[in-house]
């Protein structure tokens, strides 16, 4: 019985919800079963509307200013960052980092106005 319950618990954690903040709201994502792209380490999730998004090991942040971003990066010991514009940065995390946990923490920093994973979303040609 214990083994059965343990199996159920472990199985459920495979598809547990994660969340991040966007547009001032907490956005929940559910991990999709067997949706990992082994070639590039992408994990796939779906949001409450059923839209599929991919996540790797990168976070996008927008700060009030470049200086504030750089200070925050030092605080978190981020080594691998790329400037995409004057105040938008791409942070590459370590494989062992929890991307959603770090996104949440960054979002709550006063210096940062937006922080969420670098999402992979299907773009439809029209």
């Amino acid at each position: 019985m214990k083994q059965f319950l343990l199996s159920i618990f472990l199985y459920s954690t495979l598809f547990s919800d994660v969340y991040y903040y966007e547009y001032g709201k907490k956005v929940k994502l559910t991990k999709l079963k067997e949706q990992r792209d082994v070639t590039d380490g992408t994990f796939y999730y779906k949001n409450s509307a059923g839209q599929k998004v991919g996540v790797r090991d990168e976070i996008l942040v927008k700060c009030n200013s470049r200086t504030e971003c750089e200070k925050t990066f030092i605080k978190y010991s981020f080594k691998n960052t790329e400037s995409l514009s004057s105040n938008i940065f791409l942070i590459k995390l370590k494989k062992s980092d929890d991307i959603f946990e770090i996104s949440q923490k960054l979002y709550l920093e006063k210096t940062i106005t937006i922080a969420h994973p670098n999402f992979i979303k299907k773009r439809y040609r029209r």
Partner: protein, 362 residues
């Protein structure tokens, strides 16, 4: 004597003929009527033949020939963010001033040789030049910045927009969308608008019939307040059946309907095409989609900017809305809006005329 005179006349005529034949074509002498397929351009002018043969509405065009008498978009840079481009295409290359691949930092964009150069067709609607080769874009003297973006991630979208800005684009055309725009991308687009760059997005298509983007779970790029969202009109001068719509879509422009005829385009298979539709060469075809309505608006925006470079994106949007043609035999609300047809179909002549005399508040 008569024989001699006839001989002189014959030789003179022959020499004149040969001289004419050898005379290089001066691009300044070329007119839009020299474009061999311009006769199919129902979206730009009334064609009596097409009206008769395909029952195309004589009003389905956007009144652009009158606008071209004022400007053809000289000096305005328009960026296109899309998948593949054939940068050596005969009916586009002379207006390409920059190209870059976001996915390949070396900047090299390989020519696509199969049937998926969506960006090629899109770019043609904006600035295919007057060169007696095939067709003509809405702003035939505007210049193109072609940006290839293949990977579907937010960082690459931001990089593409940043490249367009740094390259000097005043207009950016995006004939794609996610229906799930990330906040940081939306913010980047707003910054572009605040910086004086007009961004245009296509509203999207559904082969089963266009649907409303107002549904709660849809958050499309074309709905953003900082862009001009464009749906498609058809040959009958009404909204095309496939065109997505909603309260945040701004305008319609011709996108055609291949069930009727379709809109004349540079074929997305480029020089390697195999369409041969209705006597067109391999380089051209009739297609449809909001993807092709959006770049027509981008071209008209380029015309407006060329006559009044001080216009802000908000002013451009307002002018396009004020001057739009209320198509369809339906009513529009007090603000001039209709759920399906937005503020109506663009009218290039009126938009350029108002733009020219508009005293910008900037």
């Amino acid at each position: 004597m008569i024989k001699f005179s006839l001989k002189v006349i014959f030789i003179t005529t022959l020499l004149q003929f040969l001289a004419c034949d050898k005379k290089p074509i001066d691009s300044n002498e070329l007119t839009i009527e020299n474009e061999p397929y311009y006769k199919y351009a129902w979206h730009f002018k009334q064609s009596d033949t097409l009206v008769e043969n395909f029952n195309i509405s004589p009003k389905s065009h956007i009144n652009i020939e009158s606008a071209w008498k004022i400007t053809k978009g000289e000096g305005v840079k328009v960026a296109v963010i899309d998948n593949y481009f054939e940068i050596s295409h005969q009916d586009l290359k002379e207006n390409i001033i920059d190209f870059y691949s976001i996915d390949n930092p070396s900047g090299y964009i390989p020519n696509r040789t199969d049937d998926a150069s969506h960006g090629l067709s899109v770019a043609g609607f904006i600035a295919s030049p007057i060169n007696a080769t095939g067709l003509v874009g809405a702003a035939p003297k505007a210049k193109l910045i072609l940006i290839q973006q293949l990977q579907d991630n937010d960082a690459h979208i931001i990089k593409a927009f940043e490249y367009a800005k740094n390259a000097g684009a005043k207009v950016i055309n995006c004939s794609w969308g996610t229906e799930n725009v990330s906040q940081i991308v939306a913010q980047k687009i707003k910054e572009l608008k605040d910086g004086g760059i007009t961004v245009i997005f296509a509203s999207g298509n559904s082969p089963l019939g266009g649907y409303s983007l107002d549904a709660e779970q849809i958050n499309d790029e074309s709905e953003l307040a900082s862009v001009i969202g464009v749906g498609a009109s058809n040959e009958y001068n009404d909204i095309a059946f496939y065109s997505n719509y909603g309260k945040n879509i701004d305008l319609l422009a011709p996108g055609g309907d291949t069930n009727i005829l379709g809109i004349l385009a540079i074929d997305d298979s480029g020089s390697f095409g195999n369409t041969l539709q209705r006597g067109l060469s391999n380089n051209y075809s009739f297609i449809d989609g909001t993807s092709f309505a959006a770049p027509i608006v981008a071209g008209v925006v380029a015309l407006m900017i060329s006559v009044n470079p001080n216009l802000t994106p908000d002013e451009i949007r307002d002018i396009l809305i004020q001057t739009a043609d209320k198509i369809g035999d339906v009513s529009y609300d007090a603000n001039g809006f209709n759920e399906y047809r937005a503020y109506g179909k663009i009218d290039a002549k009126k938009a350029v005329e108002v733009a020219k005399s508009y005293l910008s508040q900037q």
